[in-house]
Amino acid sequence: MRRLVILVCLALTAGAPPPAQRSFVACPMIRDTEPVPCWLAESGGELYYLGVQGDISEAFHPPQLRHRALVEGTVLDGSRVCGGVVLKPVVVSALPEIDETCAKVLPAEGFKIADFPRGPGPANRGRQLATGPEVPRPLPPAPQPPYGVRTWDVRFGFEGLYINVHQFRGVLDAVAYAKASGGQVRVEGWRAASRLSNGETLAEPVGIAQARTDKVVQALTELGAAPVAAVAHPDLETPDGVTDPERRRVRITVRP
């Protein structure tokens, strides 16, 4: 709670979000289903399904017990998985402070997971065998002219500074494009607020816009595409309870 600022701030609030939107802070729960566990969270007397255990290459990155989570999602079609109403798409942010009350592991209670990326053991994709013949790794296609202005948004979890593997690929793409096009790189970073379903607004700390901007500048510089300019925006844009996760971002612009 220390760094978390909850504002009940009507001035910032746009019109009511569409009825399918859900945005709430809650303790996540894990259910011990076969073949892989699934993740749930409760809000307003309803249980929501967030996703299943997978890999970091999956779009869904599960929450963490012992941390509350900010859940921002859309009710898919009212269907249930693992006992919860499916939220999809859904963005889950583990909040940095520890909350010992977030400790619930639920039994399977007859639920099963039908759709999962991989089981609880190793993957079964088959890659290269270290003792077998060498297969050359395919290289990503190099950017091709004509070069125009392009932008990449690096998104963060709520109160987060961590660039995850998906977002990092955006950074790599921007670097490759800047190098190929000889373009100038500019960086802009934001802090954001989330409009919760209960009408409250949850805002990130002021310093995070600068900290995020610095992170991305550092990554670009280390990768050989140092920005010519970087700006942090500590002012909050109006949260709408729908697109809030998209505003926790640093934008990289490459101008050939």
């Binding site: 220390r2 760094r3 894990i30 011990d32 892989v36 566990p37 993740w39 255990q53 890999d55 970091i56 990155h61 599960p62 929450p63 963490q64 017990l65 012992r66 941390h67 583990a94 940095p96 402070e97 520890i98 592991v105 609880p120 053991g121 190793p122 993957a123 079964n124 994709r125 088959g126 890659r127 290269q128 065998l129 270290a130 003792t131 060498e134 790794r137 500074l161 961590y162 660039i163 995850n164 593997v165 990092f168 790599l172 992170k215 550092q218 990554a219 280390e222 990768l223």
Partner: protein, 490 residues
Amino acid sequence: MKWRGLVGCWMALALALPLAAQTPERVDVPADRSWWEAGDGRRMAAAAAYANPYGRLEVRNAGGGLETKGHPFFTPLGTNGRACVTCHQPADGMSVSVASLRQRWKATKGKDPVFAAVDGANCPSLDAAKRSSHSLLLDHGLFRIFLQWPVKDAEFSLEVVRDPSGCNGDPVFGLTSPNPMISVFRRPRPAANLKYVTTPDSIGFNVKTGMPLARDPETGAPVSMQLMADARQPTLKTQAIDAAVTHLQAPAAPTRDQLEQILAFETQVYAAQAVPAGSPPGLGAAALAKARPGLLGNDLKTPVFQSFDLWRAKAGETLKGEAAFRASAARGADIFLTRPFWISDTSHLNTVGLGNPIKRTCSTCHNAQMTGMDVAPGWMDIGTNNQPTADPLKHLPLFKVTCRADAPPHPFLGRAIYTHDPGRALISGLCRDVGSITMQQFRGLAARAPYFANGSAKDLPALVDYYDRRYAIKFTAQEKRDLVNFMSVL
């Protein structure tokens, strides 16, 4: 890359010349010749086997037999009579076991240079003649690692709660001395199979930091960030310079030529438990020399230590003796790969997008083919150093870490942490890194007890027991035996 080229050239020359007409040699080294003294000058065979409690360990020079006379890895470069080989013994999988250290203490009445006070004593200020001054080395295989503290922008302060070695409070060597140093105590990591340790993750991303990998200060190429328990050394070259100056007490860094020779040796030496012909393809030092590094092995089709099918029992078959042992090791390989348990509250595993907890297996963390390291920079806090999960390590220093209120906390221990070794946090200064240790390679385990960076697992059964407790796995006695047998053949 230029540097690599140079080393390669040198290697080809240096190793090809003396060997030109020779066939590869293989020797069985008798137990009374197994300790390699600095400056011994004997020839290192292309393949040599050394007995250990589980069988024999094999060390192979991919470049063929090696004259060690005058070779900088085998020759004292400093003032204390030690060479690199003193703590990286071929017989001990290029680490050094507690059993060898004890024998050495007995044989030399404590005079062997391995006991040099700088880091072979609990603290250099103690009476070096006494056994008790070397208890951490003789009882736990631990050398003193001394690092500058604090580092710039550290998110936390350190307080010494317990200091059995006396070194953290020492007026000359301690945290409040004119040149403030923290002393932690760690096992030597194997100086073999190093192409696997130094190959960077191919996408250049460090999943532990969400940032690009660190770079070689000389070439600018990305590095693996896997060297040393705290990943403090970017390259084998910077590591060798640091080792010469600290462990060997060399007055200056080794010369360029010496460094090239050290690196050329280190990058062609392979160590693994010896196995007979017809064994699984990932076993033995020759397989390590031949196979390719940097490949993910947490996959049923490309398992971490390759297939164990050759040792598997057929359905309904009852095996005896060696065949029964091999079938057990094959089952152990399966447990390692496929036996799920809840992995929880582990910083840098449960925090990188997988969720806390995750139901997975040993190979989730130990996922790199051939070594069982992490393909990504491998530091994690599995609890070996932080209380309350660490064993009660009365012989080790205990520090209280207090994190700044505005810094993100350690994700599972918060802002007040009791630790025996802050690990990666001593380099990064980050609270979330407190207690995180870069995992070691698994090869030659049979030859180099005790285990974990802090030596807290005295043998392989104790290592399995640690995991069983830490993650409440509830392994059966049979599963534990199978895992131990599996690890003993690596």
